[in-house]
Symmetry: C2
Subunit: 673 residues, 2 copies
Amino acid sequence: MFLYMSTPLFISLTFFTLVSATIHLHPLDPLNAMELTRVQTIVERSHPGSAFHYIGLAEPDKSSILSWLATSLNQSSTTPSPRQAMTIIRHHNQTHEIIVDLLTTTIIYNRVYTGFGYPSLSGEEVTMAMKLPLTYPPFVISVRKRGLKLDQVVCQPYPIGWFGVQGKREVKLACYYLEGTVNMHARPLEGISVVVDLEEMKISKYFDRVRVAVPKAEGTEYRLSQMRPSTVRATMVNRITVVQPDGPGFKIDGHIIRWANWNFHLGFDVRAGVIISLASIFDVQKQEFRRVLYKAYVSELFVPYMDPTEEWYYKTFFDAGEFGFGLCTLPLEPLRDCPANAVFIDAFYAGQDGKPLQIPNALCVFERYAGDVMWRHTEIGIPGEFIREVRPEVTLVVRMVSTVGNYDYIIDWEFKQSGSIVAKVGLSGILEVKGTAYTHTDKIKEEAFGTLLAENTLGIYHDHFLSYHIDLDIDGEANSFVKNKLVTKRVKDNSSLRKSYWTVEKVTARTESEANIKVGAEAAELVVVNPNKKTKLGNPIGYRLIPRSSPASSLLSDDDYPQIRGAFTKYDLWVTPYNNSEKWVAGLYADQSRGDDTIATWSERDREIENKDIVLWYTVGFHHVPSQEDFPVMPTLSGGFELRPTNFFEANPVLNSRVPMPVNWPNCTSPHK
Amino acid sequence: MFLYMSTPLFISLTFFTLVSATIHLHPLDPLNAMELTRVQTIVERSHPGSAFHYIGLAEPDKSSILSWLATSLNQSSTTPSPRQAMTIIRHHNQTHEIIVDLLTTTIIYNRVYTGFGYPSLSGEEVTMAMKLPLTYPPFVISVRKRGLKLDQVVCQPYPIGWFGVQGKREVKLACYYLEGTVNMHARPLEGISVVVDLEEMKISKYFDRVRVAVPKAEGTEYRLSQMRPSTVRATMVNRITVVQPDGPGFKIDGHIIRWANWNFHLGFDVRAGVIISLASIFDVQKQEFRRVLYKAYVSELFVPYMDPTEEWYYKTFFDAGEFGFGLCTLPLEPLRDCPANAVFIDAFYAGQDGKPLQIPNALCVFERYAGDVMWRHTEIGIPGEFIREVRPEVTLVVRMVSTVGNYDYIIDWEFKQSGSIVAKVGLSGILEVKGTAYTHTDKIKEEAFGTLLAENTLGIYHDHFLSYHIDLDIDGEANSFVKNKLVTKRVKDNSSLRKSYWTVEKVTARTESEANIKVGAEAAELVVVNPNKKTKLGNPIGYRLIPRSSPASSLLSDDDYPQIRGAFTKYDLWVTPYNNSEKWVAGLYADQSRGDDTIATWSERDREIENKDIVLWYTVGFHHVPSQEDFPVMPTLSGGFELRPTNFFEANPVLNSRVPMPVNWPNCTSPHK
């Protein structure tokens, strides 16, 4: 399910002595390498020997961001932006929350966290933990008993979850076998439980409960260099690429991206990964930029497995909170992860020692032309006229890939000129499999909790729940969430030959509990409106959320421990009032959390959300029943949603968009030809 | 909602004297121009003066197709294919069904149809009907009374539906005003009812019930040539195109398309439009082509409007059955409707006189590279190793655009190397609007049945229901439909610290009634399996259907006339046993149909569907609440579904796919630069 960056292969320490001063930054810019270093220096001074589990931007409240923006716009010189860093450290076995002001270089907040749960694991401690079994005599014996080679064993750390009992800061290790493959995920050593105390950094519990056949290496390879090239025409396609003779059409100014009619801020956080902020769209009719989205990011990624047996029951992972969705962001491969016209952006985060680390090519930005049509019409109904107007669709995509151990999540944010923002996630990578004695389904006599994918290999049933934090500010902060229910009306008065029709009943959610929805349970449009503004015609100005894949809420019982922790999955959609401290839908301290800091607990207050600054939390969910096609590496499965303007504009905003000049592609030559 | 090709602007009569003889055709090939001519000649001889409402392939039964294929494969010379044409004519006010054998050039079947409903309208009769009001004195007076210019009026034909009373073969006309725009759809003349008797070709009823303001022309223009070019950067994007230095990678052999690991037959029918048949995928492991899809096409497109008032209640259109989804296929525009690397294909159909007409560029085929990832994994969990394997996703797309009057439907069939077939529909074009006195929503005091889109302009609520006929033949004809229900299990014996998990319960539908589903009502995978074959591991071989947009079944009452006719919309999914005569989900004679020949009536027999040759009928539905953005032309809204292999292959079928060689794009030059 997850795995840390255990090697510094592409992570070079960088000390940016030449980086522009903090004073010129946008208040939403992620901490740069110099700022990270500054935080480390200050905190290390007061708390020597700290382990840094998080350093990120202590994001100013929305009001101060907005007033900074207003001031910046009104003045020729840039106003210094508020810059504070939030850090979570472990120091003397305690969790500290420290806020450092980067302008005054002082600690302005410092408290010991005494609640439930622990901070995200650091990459370094995980790397250390992984190695412990290899020198732990009982484990060495277990490996020998199985007739395996110790130098071919690799272990991976797994958070232990919470099952009703207070736990120390521990992880479990699951171990895998390489020999003959690099796909260790496909070769688990079942039956062994290794618990590591992370504070002591030693194995605290060890069981070798049962011996299970290790799946074969055969058929698990996925490296091109090691594949027997296919001998059939069937697997080769002709070369194809995207060409922009004038170069990309977007501009990157610091962390601000400007493209076509969109402006937005592109951030990065070691926990959330990519963050889209302050997205505004230019309204041609009004001749001004209008606010759409204050912020959006993946707040949590919950992946519970559905096997209650001893070595698997606890596998109920919170990839953002336990590991860091940003920490697991790995460098994108040019020409394969992103097309030829992509521009790449690096990201920075702090290692366990607090010093800055760089992820090269962490994000890419590119214009996408997939051959689709933005709008069209052919008119042949007017005698003597033949009218055909077609506008090709070119969009802008921001991409990140987070590889949480075995799984790869391709996260796209796509901006359309027509005003839509589309969030997509592609699931690829390698399944978490379980070793089994079974070699054929005929032999399965009791519940197996998964699909037999190869001999001795079960793909365990599981879910992927990505909770998107979506803070729309439609023409301002004060917004309402409206269900446009489509309701059937009977014609009862014989006024029509029709007996029925449907119409729209607008139901505004007044408080949080009224907004919780299992999407699809009833026919309804889900709209965020600005109730204080209307179009010239009087329609409420809004954006609606359209699922692009089947909603999937949790099937776990409400009282089950992982469900208590991942309670956001009870509904596909929640709406809360904006609260700068409510960032992580399953809680800030997700490791061994107990569900006391989740959206379900926040929402118990049933706060007012009508005509307030509101945040939507939408879950893109997948119930994953593995199939043999997913083995040994899984073809991408996609899901997502669209945020689409609905009476936001007075009319089609791309009505008078120009068509890009054609490119005469046969003029291209290629050195490969 | 619809409109005929009223001008022959791009329709040139073609007489193919050089066309290869019928004997060399594939039995699923659409009738070519010579064959159409032959049918016309034969039928005209026996039924002089006939009006041809349909000529298409009388498709042989599946068994004879399959035996032809088997014979063809086993012999070096091609076996003559069975070639018969089905034609529906009106002759002496009667509907005749005639089957012509093209090899023997004889009529082998001829009966008068005496049931309910009428054949599809012909383009020519509609064109004639449209002109009638302009010389009809009461109408001329109505126009004059409204202070409008007669030469700026254009009328459009609308099927009258069925509302409990037997009707003659009539259409209603709705009329529109041009002056100052070519977007007549935006300027309805409300309050006038014109009924045309199509047999007499004269106006049979006329009412001028009420006068309503005609919406303004201002703001309705959508032609690039007439637009004031936008003066802001916001609407311009840089040039972008797709390049394939070695040309397209697919081969077109007659109507067979071969690309990567896919083979399929690409057909066209004047009623259905594009038809995909005999899609097989090469299994690298088995080194053979395996059957996936026998046939798929849009069987019906039902568009009911939700305004029960006098001039609108009847607007409940069956675009395929009343008009012809293929007949409304209009030529695609190179570089805009399809990318630069597309190959275009013409289509042929018969006019009302039975003579062949050509639709140039009716279909396009292209390889799509949208910058997406087919599969990927980065592995950093092995000490000393950094592994990153990424395969870009290149797919093959077949596209058609059908413009049914005001609306444009972009129909895509996308083939993925990983085995998926994705059906997409993009909705664009122009809304069907209603004239109204309202100029602001504040003035709306009673139910308006729509959204105020512009002054005096209501976008009436409506649905789009596209029923896809999907005849999967997974490794052969005998298949079963299985709901893989995901059901929550409680852990009751304290054997685990978990309290719950979900597992899969496979429920095979034994008869038709067991397969009807409102998709999303329960967590389930929808799978078609071949119960007679299993993978080596013993998993049932199958394909599953994954919605790519929210399912939307009908909200009309069961007893409402349009719902009786469009009963397929009661469920998102139906499954029937293969029956060559069950092609049109809402009936063969859709015009004024009474619902006695729909899938709901076929399914009343509750036939067995387990381990049978089965057909899925899945509806891609949209409840459309118009928004101002949809005016005066609508940005594309997309929906669809994916057919994805699930234990069809023994493993990931694109594991050893090669990566196309990179193209060094900066080497491109362009004459436009």
